[in-house]
Structures are given as C-alpha cells and as structure tokens.
C-alpha cells in the first residue's frame, strides 16, 4: 500500500542543495548502493498506459471518480488522467501536433517523479517525511507526513499531491519495496516497448546517449535528453527522458530550480524591512516624547 512505512535512512535529511553528488547525499545511516532510476525513451512509447495501470495495481492506489465510475472524458486527446497526483503516480501524456488533417505527429510520454539528485521536495519538508534512499531515490514516508503540502509547492514538476485516502502527500516511490528485494519496478516491468528502462543511472545515461545519436542519424534531429546531465539543473534527474520537442511541449519546466534559491534574498529584504520599521517606530516614539515636554499645550486645541 502507498502508505507503507519505510526504514529511516537519515536522522535529518541532508539538504540536497548542498550535496551536488548523489554519494554526498548518502543517508547518514545505511550506505548508498548504486544510484538507480529510469530512462524513459518517449520515441518508443505507444501510449498503452500499461505503466499507469501497473503502478496503480502494485501500489493499490484508488481509481479516480467513484471507483472508476461516473467520470467524464477530458477531450484532451486520449489523456483522461491529465496529471500526476496522490493517487496516480504514473501518467501518460498525449500531445497532438496536427496543423492540418493527417499531417503532423502524436507525441506520447509517460511521466513520473524525477527522483531529483537535489530534490526540492525533500529540501523543504518540515517533518523529515521525505528521505533519500540507498538507491539515491526520493521517497515519502507516509507515516511521518502530516499533509502540510509544502513539498507540493516545492516540486518543480508538479509531481506530488495529497492522497485523499491517507491525507498525506504521495508520489512514486520508485517501487522501493520491489527494488529493495531485487525486483524491477512495476511500471517498467509492464512496459511492452521498453520505453521505460530501469537500471543503474550511469548505465542508463550511456544507453540514452547512444540512442540520441542513433535517432539523429535516422533523421530525428530534435532528439535530446532531459535531465540526464549531472551538471544540469537539480544535479540531474534519476528519472530522465528522451524528448524530441521543447520541454514545455511535454509540460516540463525548461529550468527546474531549487526553492531555496529565494531563501537568502527573501530573508534579507524582510530583515532589512523589519529592522527599518523597528527603528522608525522607536525613533518616532522617542521624538514624540521629546515633543511632549515642549508642545503639550499646543496640542490641546485639537
């Protein structure tokens, strides 16, 4: 069940902001095994949604609507899920690009938590519910989360949301319960085309790079990797993607950032403002005392 407790791997989550390297973000307790994750090759996604269903099956997530009944179609191509949420941890996006009839292309992409190497959600979580596992993945401990929802606003990809059954924030666990016993995650296991590939990040990055070259040679000039660069935003994504159009087209941010980028300046301005107001207050009050002595009467008339 999604609300399964996970072993504590860290007393106080080390803010990934200060740990560029996965290893550095290793849990203080247990040692870090090889970083694991997903390479999602959207060019071989057939939009079958097997991943979405497999995820719900394995994690026993509720169907939307009342048990799947009385739902309306979205009218947005074949996408009736529309977003990742507390009860949908995998979501297949459908992007129709047809300027005129029959002329165009239909992009499909299976979206999921990116398991950021520097995870904004983990960074802000005030209860320590979000942890980094020995696989360098990011997991929410549902028994710790109290539903404050700070992480929801912190995730640059809109991955997290409240699960209305548990009242806690939930998202992909990268099948922690499966991979920790040597099983492949349910979604990638179900993927019939290997659009979702699970494995050690280093290996996946190599495979992905080769695939990009191959696609370019075959004429798909737009092919590139999103989130594969450890020097890139958030120290790289442990679930990265091969895309053939601008990130925004897939509903992905061009430059995902750490929330703390605003922490220093935001606090600075406020502090300055605070001191200023305190001083102004003090000064004006003192000034008034001075006045009193001299001009008490002149005020009487008013």
């Amino acid at each position: 069940m999604g609300t399964r407790a996970l072993p504590i791997l860290t007393q106080n989550p080390i803010p990934p902001a200060r740990t560029a390297q996965p290893s550095a973000s290793a849990p203080a307790g247990g040692g870090l095994t090889e970083p694991m994750g997903f390479f999602t090759d959207t060019t071989v996604c057939i939009g079958c949604k097997a991943c979405e269903v497999a995820c719900k099956e394995w994690n026993q997530l509720p169907a939307r609507g009342d048990g799947g009944a009385n739902l309306q179609m979205s009218g947005q191509s074949y996408d009736n899920t529309l977003r990742l949420s507390g009860d949908t941890w995998r979501h297949v996006k459908f992007i129709e690009q047809f300027p005129q009839p029959y002329e165009g292309r239909w992009l499909m992409m299976s979206d999921v938590c990116k398991h950021c190497v520097q995870a904004p959600c983990l960074e802000v979580c005030p209860t320590g519910a979000i942890i980094r596992t020995e696989f360098d993945t990011v997991v929410i401990q549902s028994d710790t989360c109290n539903g404050c929802r700070d992480c929801i606003s912190a995730c640059p990809f809109g991955v997290i949301d409240l699960n209305h059954v548990s009242g806690t924030a939930q998202k992909c666990t990268l099948c922690y319960d499966r991979i920790s016993v040597g099983l492949e995650p349910a979604c990638s296991k179900a993927c019939p085309t290997d659009s979702i590939q699970f494995g050690p990040i280093a290996e996946l990055r190599q495979r992905a790079a080769d695939r990009v070259v191959q696609l370019r040679e075959q004429g798909e000039k737009g092919a590139y990797l999103y989130g594969a660069d450890p020097q890139g935003p958030l120290g790289g994504l442990n679930a990265f993607f091969l895309l053939v159009d601008e990130p925004e087209v897939y509903g992905l941010p061009r430059e995902p950032k750490m929330p703390t980028r605003n922490l220093f300046r935001g606090s600075l301005w406020s502090t300055i403002g605070a001191i200023a107001m305190a001083v102004i207050g003090a000064v004006t009050l003192r000034a008034r005392r001075m006045q009193d002595v001299t001009r008490t009467n002149s005020h009487e008339g008013e």
Partner: protein
C-alpha cells in the same frame, strides 16, 4: 510468419490493423525493427497510436484497401527493378503459378465490367433460407487450361447445379483460411498415401497444368495479372482511396526497395481487412503482392495475421467454426457429395500435395469421436457424424432466430447484445424460448430483458419477453489450467493461479457435464440419428496424474483433453503420438486434431509448457518456447527461404537451406539406404526433410511425390504459391476493388458497385436496411474499432476501475472541418444516425481523422470505438446498433468496418 519474426523485417506495412493499440505486446517486434532502422508504414483512415510510431502514415478511406494494394501490385509489375532483378524473376517463375496457363474460357472483370465469368443467380435453399448470398459463381471457367484443379471443379459443379450455398465448399479446406500447413515427419522423405485409400486417391489425379516458363502466353497467370491490375494507377488510387498520390508512391517505393534477395517486407493485418464484404479478397490481394515480391516463407517476410480474442486461433484449429471439423477439414455436409465416407474422401481429398493424407486425418478423427465403436465395417462411424445443411454462421443463425427458427442458445464467452449489430440481435434473442449465458459478469446479453435501451425507451415491455435466461458464473483464465493458442499458432500451457470464487465453473466443466447429461438422455434412444450420441467417447475424468487438482467435482482433466487432441495409439492410449507422420487410416491411431499432433508426445512431456528462450543474439525461432503447429514449425512454407537450388537467397536472409553433406539413416518404412543431404536451418523445415532441391516429381505420384524439390507450397496441389486462385475462393480468382455494401460514391473501376455475391441477411427487413449509393441522408463514411484501454464489448474492461477511468466515455472521432461545418465543439454530444439506428456519443474533435476527396467528392470520414454498453462502471450507447447484417461471402464476417452515417449536434 509470427510477431517476433517481424523484428527481422526491413519494412513493415501495418494495414487493416491498429497493431500498437490492439496488439501492444506483439508490436514491440516491429518497433524493435524500426529502432534498428526498418521502415514502418501504417495505412489507416485514422492517425492512431500505431501511426504515431511509424515512419509513414497513409490515410485511406475504409473499404478501399484493394484499390491501394492493387496500386502497389501495378507499381511493382511495371517497375524496372522488378522486371530486371533476377531474384524476383526466379522466385515468381519457380515458386508461384505465374507461368501456369489458365483456361481460355476464363473472362476477367476487365472483359465483363466488374464481374468474372460464371456469375449466376443465387436461389436460397427453401429448408434454410438464411444463406444471404446475393449471387454466386460457377468457378468452372477459372480452372487451369485442360485440367480442373483437383476435386474443386467437380465439387463446384455439384453444388452449383444443386443451387446451394458454397459456404461449405471443400476449397476452404484445400486452401485453409488460416494458412494451415501440416508438416512432414522429420524422419520421412516423402509420404506416399497409404494402401487403403490409395486407389481412390490416385483415381482423383488430373493432368498436370500446362505452363509457359517465359510467362509470355496471353493466357498465363502473369499476363492476366498485368492486364487485370493495369487500371490501378496512382491517380486511380488517389481517386478511390483518398490517399494523396505522393504518399502512395512513397509507400510503393519503400516496399519495393525493401524487398529482394537480401531484404524482406512484411504486412500485418487484423479485422480491418476481414470485416468487409470483400475481406478475404483484401487478404489474398496482399498475398498476391507478397508472392510477387518474394516475401513469402522467408524471415521477416510474409503476412502477419493478428488474431483477436485470446486463443481465437485455437478456436478455429479445434474449431467452433460450423463449417469445418478439427484441423480445417470440411464439416460433413448435406450440400456436398458427402453421403458416405467414400464420397467424403473422394470429394475432399486433393491427391497431389500434402492434403493427399486426408484419409488418415479423418479416420483418426473419427476414432477420437467414437472410439472402439468406430470400425471399418461401419465406416468408422462416419454416418453417426452430424452434417450441416446450410449457413450456420453467426448472422445466419441470428437471422433464423429473428424468424423464430431457433429455440434456444448457449452464449458462452460472447456478448452478442452489443458485439454485433446489437439492436437486431437483441430483437432476435427475444424470440428465444431459453438463453444460457455463461460469463464472468452480468453482461448486456444476460441483462437485456431488464435494462436494454429498447426497454428503457418503452418500445419493448419486460413482461412481453418470453425468453427464460439462465446465468452461469464462469471462471477466469487464471483459475484453471489449460492450453492457449496464440496468433502465431503457438500452444502455451497456462497453470492455475487462484481458486475461482463462489460457484464459478470452468467452461470445460460445463461442456463435460452437459455432455454426460445428454448422453444419459440418449442412452436408450432407438432413433438412428441418436447413434452418434450413444457411441460418443466422453471420458475426461481426472485421474490425478495431471498437475492441478480439479477446481470442482466433475471437472474435466485438461491433460486428457490435450492427449485426445494430440492423439495416441488406439491400442494403448499411454502411447502418445509424436507427430502426424504417424497417423494411419486403418484405425490404429486416434487423433482429434491432426495439426496439433506432436504437442503432447508423452504424458510426462507437454511441449506446450516449455519456456526455454534461445540464447541471446543467436539467430533462431525460439523453438523451445511452447509448441507451434504444424510440427513446431514457426515460418510456414520456409522452403522458399532458399533458392531453387537450396542455397539461402542471401546471407542476411538465411533461414532454411539444403545441406548436401548430412548423412541420412535408412528409410524406416522400406529399410533401404538413403542418399545424403537434408534440409537444415534455424526453423523446422516445411518440406520433405531429405528431398533434394533437384528432385523431380514422380509421374503419376500422389501426395508430395507429385511435387519437385523446388516447389515450396506443399499444401497446394501444384506446390506453388497462387497468384491466381482457380479454386478456394467463392468470389473470384483475383481481387477486385468493390465498394462496401454502403458507400457514398460509385465504384470508379467498374459498373459493378459492390461484390456481386456478398452476404446480405434479413434482406429488406426494417432492422437491416442498407442505404443506397450516395444517399444524402448519410453523407459520412464511418468505421468502428478498438481502444487499448478497453476490450471488445467492454465486459472485460468497463467493469474494471483502473481501465474504466482511462477511457470513461463513448466518443466519436470527427475531423475539425466537419466539426466546423456542423457547429460541433470538442466534447459536445452528437447523434450518429445510420439507416438502422441512432445513437449518442461525445465528439472528440481531432485532425487525426478528416475529410477525403473521393472521385472529386469531399467525403467526411468519422470513426468510433464500439466497446460500450449499458452494464458496468463506464456505460454508453451501443455502436453496433448502427451496423448491419452484411458480410463476406467466403467467411460470413460482418462488414463492421465500413458503412455510412450522419453526425449532428445533439
């Protein structure tokens, strides 16, 4: 071919199927081929999830496939490459009937403006007036010059004169629909037909057809083809299909470029080629093209028939088909000369080619039916076997039901209330006295008496329905063990994973119990017609030698069933047969389905349960994974993967070849030494193992002796691939583009609008009206199809939360310009009207479908999935209320894929 083999294709044309959505797991193979540089092409009225993963999408109007394929054929025949490349020349001249001379009486559609010689009126049989044929052919004039292609002519003459439907003709068995090709025992070079029926079979021999190796004779097949397809120019293709000429030409060039000695192209189709009034001709048109391109019997070549329902392949092998018995033998029929066993064999046996062994198959089959009671003196119980006397296909039965001619129905694993021409079928079923539904859910069929649309709208009163409906809860596949035949003719054994809930019973339990009870009822009958029941062997009691303990008492033993299908020595059932080479026609072997013979050679050795993949990166056919009939062969007619001399056509496309070095054991039957040399390769050779490429045909020989060592198509009387089909198809020896029964335009090729003999049941009945050509009330062409998210009538998906939420509502896909014309916005409710019915659905406005210019006329193409009904979590109107009872004259499939309608804002 089989799905995994598509990985070896250099080009894959998916036409008549939405492979990625309907066969997602199989689609991984063409996709893998594409990743490695192969070209994928999708020819479809819609841009689907398959198109999204192809290099080229060519939009065509539903029902215009033969025009498109004809265009490809014309392009190939008139291309320099095809005429110059020695590969094509040698493949076509040696492996096909291109050089065979056809009877001068034959008149082509060219001569008769759209029909072939031999067209006649069709008279319905008064006893069973539900054949539905609108006309019929006497194929006498289609034969090879000077020689009727064995058995068929004689048979046709018989039924033609009798004026009865040819639905049940031998030809279907002579050239099985599903490409059935029995194998040859690994240990026997040739198989002479055995003594008992030898003389009879020999007496059937006809002179061998004349050929013109230069293929110049005006009456030779190639010349006829050239004339026949000359009309199919790119311009005409564009006019008829609506596919832009340039798109068509890119497809043509890509296919031609990727065919030859070291490249192969494959085609994949499913029901968008079958569900037409000329569906079988669409498929044979593709076969014709693939033969011309030398893409048959070779790795990565061929035609992938993507079967539908899980194990639907099995249901035609061990048939639920009314017109055939096990292994694609014709069902004994009152309409053919089948009066005695002798007559049956004389009518059905093709003396040349492997079908010459039919007597062995049939006698072994009769032994499986009647056991010890089947003896030579009673013709192995042949007379006890039921005979058909008309068209008992699905819609024929429904039409009869509507006339009150059918009293009861067992509906097991089907949901006819929505899955075919719904409202008409529900009306028909309301005429039944009793209806048994055995299903996992309370389907629309089970609940039609309570809340069908016609009951909700008050037009039918519940109290007026006299039908008594019984519901039996069924187990699911994971709740029992058994075998399962998939789209590559592969049997895979599945084991029981969970106990069935409550009173759910397997279907075998139901049949086994029903059989026992019926036998008891007939036990004391003195009527002759009940003899069969009295002698029927019916023992599947588990003896716990099988793996799984039975679910419920009275459960049949799945392994015993498999053993009966596989066959055994009559004298000792524990001696199971290891291949159909062992079959005898003297009653010493018992075998229900000769094509499955060999899957279960010993009780301890169930080959369908094997799960051993080939080592990675080794060329091979995964021969140790499950078991594929015939003889575990994966690519049929694979002798064609080597050149006439037995060498691989090319290194890249090596599959089966002749190794002259291999020493052979002495002939087991005669005991005399055999010369060295053997067919070897990655697959089980589909040829007499030790028959040299240079072997000559034995004069007056029967069976395979009648073929040379360079004639790969061993099921054919002449061992050749048929470009021109002298027998086997009731609607013509060559494919012709005809318009669907309902079309907005006139046929632009010939005066003949639609197939001259398509089936139209319940003609003139109010519930089965057909719109006249170009009827302004129904301007749109509509097609129906599936979604990945749902399964068929939806009983297996609309009840499941995780699937229902993915496609929660019925919709119709319409193009942006139609939406503008009709003021329809995305998600608006619209009404869809056909001459039969009117339904409601949401509009999904998209440019993935749109208007086409057909014969200079703008035609809007729309389409909708048909998964919905009123039961389950996600409910919606029944798309099949719109469709009609018209179908293909060969196989009686309804034309669900192309008809006309109107779409208006609701």
């Amino acid at each position: 071919m089989y799905p995994r083999d598509m990985m070896q294709s250099d080009c894959v044309v998916i036409m008549g199927s939405n492979m990625a959505e309907c066969h997602p797991v199989a689609f991984r193979w063409p996709l893998r081929a594409r990743v490695n540089g192969a070209k994928l092409i999708h020819v479809d009225p819609r841009f689907t999830r398959t198109s999204a993963n192809c290099d080229i999408h060519a939009p065509i109007r539903a029902g215009s496939d033969i025009a498109f394929l004809g265009g490809l054929i014309n392009h190939v025949l008139s291309s320099d490459r095809w005429n110059a490349d020695p590969f094509f020349q040698s493949f076509v001249s040696t492996y096909t009937n291109a050089s065979t001379i056809v009877s001068p009486e034959f008149k082509d559609t060219e001569d008769l403006d759209g029909v072939f010689s031999g067209l006649e009126q069709h008279a319905e049989d008064p006893d069973w007036p539900f054949g539905g044929l609108t006309g019929e052919y006497d194929p006498a004039s289609w034969q090879y010059a000077g020689t009727a292609v064995q058995t068929t002519g004689q048979q046709t003459a018989y039924t033609a004169r009798a004026g009865q439907t040819k639905q049940n003709q031998g030809p279907q068995t002579a050239t099985p629909k599903h490409g059935a090709a029995p194998g040859i025992p690994m240990d026997a070079g040739t198989t002479a037909a055995p003594a008992k029926w030898d003389l009879l079979v020999r007496s059937l021999l006809k002179p061998t057809p004349r050929t013109d190796p230069s293929m110049q004779d005006p009456h030779c097949v190639l010349q006829i083809l050239k004339r026949h397809f000359a009309r199919y120019t790119p311009e005409l293709v564009e006019q008829v299909t609506g596919c832009p000429r340039t798109k068509f030409l890119t497809v043509a060039e890509t296919v031609l470029k990727n065919s030859g000695a070291d490249r192969t192209t494959s085609f994949a189709y499913a029901v968008a080629w079958t569900q037409h009034t000329d569906g079988v001709q669409m498929i044979s048109c593709c076969a014709l093209l693939q033969l011309l391109l030398g893409n048959m019997g070779r790795p990565g070549g061929g035609i992938m028939a993507l079967r539908g329902h899980a194990a639907i392949q099995g249901s035609t092998d061990v048939p639920t088909l009314y017109h055939s018995i096990h292994g694609y033998m014709s069902a004994p029929s009152a309409l053919k000369k089948h009066d005695t066993l002798h007559d049956y064999i004389a009518t059905e046996t093709v003396p040349t080619g492997y079908w010459a062994n039919l007597p062995k198959f049939l006698v072994s089959y009769l032994k499986s039916m009647y056991g010890d009671a089947a003896r030579p003196e009673n013709d192995w119980g042949y007379d006890w076997h039921p005979k058909i006397f008309g068209d008992f296909s699905h819609m024929a039965m429904m039409a009869a039901m509507a006339e009150g001619k059918v009293k009861g129905m067992l509906c097991i694993g089907q949901n006819p209330a929505t899955s075919l021409n719904g409202s008409a079928q529900r009306a028909a079923m309301r005429k039944l006295d009793w209806l048994v539904v055995k299903d996992n859910w309370l389907t629309e069929t089970a609940m039609q008496w309570k809340n069908a649309p016609e009951i909700d709208d008050g037009s039918v009163k519940v109290e007026d329905i006299k039908t008594e409906i019984f519901f039996f809860p069924a187990t699911q596949i994971g709740e029992y063990e058994g075998s399962y035949t998939n789209t590559q003719r592969m049997l895979q054994w599945h084991f029981k994973a969970a106990d069935p809930p409550g009173d759910c019973r397997t279907d075998t339990w139901f049949y086994y119990q029903l059989g026992q009870r019926l036998k008891a009822k007939y036990a004391n009958s003195t009527l002759k017609r009940d003899e069969g029941w009295k002698h029927l062997v019916w023992d599947y009691e588990p003896d716990f030698t099988s793996g799984e303990a039975p679910n419920a008492t009275g459960e049949a033993d799945a392994l015993k069933l498999l053993r009966e299908i596989n066959g055994f020595q009559t004298a000792d059932p524990t001696k199971q047969l290891s291949g159909f080479g062992e079959l005898k026609d003297d009653g010493s072997t018992t075998c229900a389905s000769w094509i499955y013979c060999g899957v279960f050679p010993a009780w301890s050795n169930n080959l369908s349960a094997r799960r051993e993949p080939d080592p990675p990166e080794t060329p091979g056919a995964e021969l140790h994974w499950g078991w594929a009939w015939p003889a575990n062969r994966r690519v049929m007619y694979n002798r064609a993967s080597a050149d006439p001399a037995g060498k691989p056509w090319s290194e890249r496309k090596r599959w089966i070849w002749w190794d002259r070095a291999v020493q052979n054991p002495p002939d087991p039957t005669t005991g005399k030494a055999q010369p060295p040399g053997r067919w070897v390769g990655y697959d089980v050779p589909d040829f007499a193992l030790t028959k040299a490429p240079t072997a000559r045909a034995k004069p007056g020989g029967i069976g395979l002796d009648a073929h040379t060592g360079a004639e790969p198509f061993i099921m054919k009387p002449d061992g050749k691939g048929w470009l021109f089909v002298p027998s086997g198809l009731v609607d013509g020896p060559l494919p012709v583009h005809y318009e669907p029964a309902e079309s907005p335009v006139h046929n632009q090729l010939y005066k003949q609008q639609s197939s001259p003999m398509f089936k139209w049941w319940a003609r003139g009945k109010s519930y089965n009206l057909i719109a006249p050509v170009g009827d302004p009330r129904y301007p749109c062409v509509i097609t129906t199809y599936r979604l990945t998210e749902h399964y068929l009538s939806g009983a297996m998906s609309r009840w499941l939360p995780y699937l229902a939420e993915l496609q929660p509502e019925l919709f119709i896909e319409i193009g942006r310009d139609l939406a503008q014309e009709r003021g329809i916005a995305n998600l608006d409710f619209v009404t869809i009207t056909s001459p039969r019915h009117k339904i409601r659905a949401r509009a999904l406005v998209t440019n993935r479908i749109g208007a086409m210019t057909i014969g200079g006329k703008k035609v809007h193409h729309v389409g909708m999935p048909w998964h919905w009904g009123w039961q389950g979590l996600s409910v919606g109107d029944v798309a099949n209320d719109l469709t009609s009872w018209v179908g293909d004259p060969n196989v009686s499939i309804h034309e669900g894929k192309a008809f006309v309608c109107n779409v208006e804002k609701a």
